[in-house]
């Protein structure tokens, strides 16, 4: 399959939003081939180039495409839950133009061949750009260091054991030390497996009422505290995925103040929902880490505002219906996150917690910078990865309408504001809302 080389496209009259430069002004943007050729308030002086396709963007926001630093795509191995195709189709409809998948596929992405398989398949689809994290330990077993150097050469952006923490302190220390050699960061799922073992939801009154065994907040806190010591010891770059507690924010803030190379992200689940969403055993709200109490949710919002939490990732964890139609304790962890990523994040703007550019920065320029990607900004000569969106357009979440194979959204039924109307990857329009039911 060959992808047609795009020509010139002129986006006219848009509200240009570039979090990296702080630009927020009405103007135009021109793409030429795969790159952004220019942008600005008076780019065309009323007359776009005659050889350009003109897109009237009046009244719409034009921003860099979203960079989602944590998704699970289930291919290879569990294509019935999500395939690269369904994941990428969901992603472009959600305005995600770059995403990084976890290595917890079957087989695990712990060697060059599987990593290259994913890259090749995704390139053929020519939708969202798919990158991968390499496994930090062989087979994600937490015992032996994976071939980090070779994985880095094959394109791994960082190393992680995906949805399990590296629990053994000696192994973690060596992974961190060895990763320094290649200048790549280690991404941790901060949850002490022993303390979390058997648990299915946040510890506290709610779990006690429901008679469910709990994952205490301390499972996350202990791993983060330990890891900060190991980061200090090794000088590694460390990124904590989906932080969910107030103490986590404090620990990361302290580490940053100390000058450690530590960053973190959270997912919309953790700033938009709390454990009450579990309600009467709603398995769609069974997430990892578990939804926490309201105090923690508020602290996550504060962490985003203060900048301690660097980025927002979808934490897309697709599950099939059979894995969720079970008694709560037996149901699988995880929520479908891609297609609500932008709108739920925009809640922070609509609720006047954060400015529009600040919210977008956490979804675009900052994750791109953390991952070392040339993405997430509107700059001449950068790849033309763009979204046109209406931040106010209202819709209601209906999992059944998701393009992802995974309908397990804890936001089902929630009214949201903000819809992507067009997604552009390397200058080509890969998604237009008018062709799609969810926009209706």
């Amino acid at each position: 399959m060959t992808v047609e080389q795009p020509g010139k496209v002129a986006y006219v009259g848009a509200r240009l939003l570039d979090p990296a430069s702080g630009l927020d002004a009405t103007g135009d943007l021109l793409t030429e081939g795969e790159k952004i050729a220019g942008l600005g308030p008076d780019l065309f002086n009323g007359s776009p180039p005659s050889d350009a396709v003109v897109v009237d963007a009046t009244g719409l926001c034009l921003a860099p495409g979203l960079v989602d630093m944590r998704v699970q795509l289930r291919e290879p191995g569990e294509e019935h839950k999500e395939s690269l195709r369904s994941g990428c189709e969901a992603a472009v409809s959600a305005g995600v133009t770059s995403m990084v998948c976890l290595p917890n596929t079957q087989p695990v992405l712990d060697d060059q061949a599987t990593l290259e398989f994913v890259a090749r398949r995704a390139r053929k689809l020519a939708l969202t750009k798919v990158y991968a994290y390499g496994a930090a330990t062989k087979g994600l077993s937490g015992k032996e260091i994976a071939e980090l150097g070779l994985l880095a050469e094959a394109g791994a952006l960082a190393f992680t054991d995906g949805t399990t923490a590296i629990a053994n302190s000696q192994v973690m220390r060596r992974v961190l030390s060895y990763a320094v050699t290649f200048g790549l960061m280690v991404v941790q799922h901060p949850e002490d497996p022993a303390l979390a073992s058997g648990g299915v939801m946040n510890g506290g009154e709610m779990a006690t009422r429901l008679g469910l065994s709990s994952i205490p907040r301390e499972a996350e806190i202990i791993i983060l505290e330990r890891d900060m010591r190991l980061v200090e010891m090794t000088g590694a770059r460390y990124h904590a995925a989906h932080v969910s507690t107030a103490d986590s924010v404090e620990i990361i803030a302290k580490a940053k103040a100390k000058g450690l190379q530590v960053t973190c992200d959270t997912a919309p689940f953790y700033f938009a929902l709390n454990e009450l969403s579990v309600g009467d055993y709603r398995t769609f709200a069974k997430l990892s880490p578990p939804l926490r109490g309201e105090h923690d949710r508020e602290a996550i919002v504060e962490g985003l505002k203060s900048g301690v939490i660097d980025a927002i990732a979808s934490d897309h964890a697709p599950q099939d219906e059979e894995s969720k139609r079970l008694p709560f304790a037996q149901a699988a962890f995880g929520g479908s996150g891609l297609e609500t990523l932008l709108a739920v994040s925009l809640d922070l703007f609509h609720n006047e917690e954060m400015g529009l550019l600040d919210v977008l920065a956490k979804l675009t320029s900052i994750p791109a910078q953390l991952l070392g990607l040339q993405a997430g900004t509107l700059s001449p000569d950068h790849p033309a990865d763009l979204i046109l969106f209406d931040p106010n357009s209202a819709w209601k979440v209906d999992g059944d309408k998701f393009l992802s194979k995974s309908k397990n959204t804890p936001f089902d039924g929630k009214p949201l504001q903000g819809q992507v109307l067009r997604t552009v990857v390397d200058g080509r329009t890969v998604f237009e809302a008018s062709n799609h039911a969810r926009a209706a």
Binding site: E205, T208, L210, G211, S214, Y281, E322, R325, P327, F328
Partner: protein
Amino acid sequence: MRDPVFPHRHLLGIEGLSPLEINHLLDLSDPYVETNRGTDPASKCLRGRTVVNLFFENSTRTRTSFELAALRLGANVINMQVEASSVSKGETLIDTAVTLNAMHPDVLVVRHPQSGAVKLLSEKVNCAVINGGDGSHEHPTQALLDALTIRRRRGKIEGLKIAICGDVSHSRVARSNFYLLLTLGAEVRVIAPHTLLPGQVERLGVKTYTDMREGLRDCDIVMMLRVQNERMSGSYIPSVREYFRFFGLDREKLSLAKPDALIMHPGPMNRGVEIDSDVADDFERSVIREQVELGVAVRMAMLELLANNLHADAVVADAAQ
């Protein structure tokens, strides 16, 4: 017409029921105690109705109690014992519900090892569902029979000091009893080592004690909970003998409760683990056998109530056609 005080389709738990509803359920159960003691306890009120005991967990006592209750009311009873130990088998829960539903039973009595499983099942069927115990969540008929036992002995529940001792963390009996006894105005004390206390349990309205002697002081009722043997080998408790020393009910510890305090246990008992035989068999104070007896009465009342509510719906539906 559905029962005006308790118009619900199912009995899934005690949490959320009002004092009025709970007292009504106890009032409905009470007459069956005398009926069962009479020479001819048989009734025909559920003749032609089908009660299915669907048990995903081993049970002799509860299943027999429900079975006898249904038979005394003249219902047809089917017992189904399903293995649900593995996760893969758990996937069949909804399928099982749909299959059974197609056979149009009137009441499903369900026990399942997972919290919330009975609720999940109840959403997939048209019949009435009674929760016969789900995981560590609720066991409503046990709490009702406990309350009926206490009410018949003490005349009321309000104002009584009731101690619940043992593995609260994993106990559905404890949770249903908390809700019921607190709703009716009792003071509920929980006595257990911290490893067997669930997080923030005080927020449910109970007082917690780790010193059994202190917790039992001036109590009207001492309710012991079963402690599973597999929790006693170092995972939650170091050993049986250590548990019995600090949390087992013996005569010496019991002496701190009121002189006429009643001893209760939902069964089956671990003699010499959570309760000394000497105390368990004290016929003046132990009401353990009475609990079993009243269990049948409570279950008869619940089966009749829910079957009638269901029937009332059917009559309305027929009339509408």
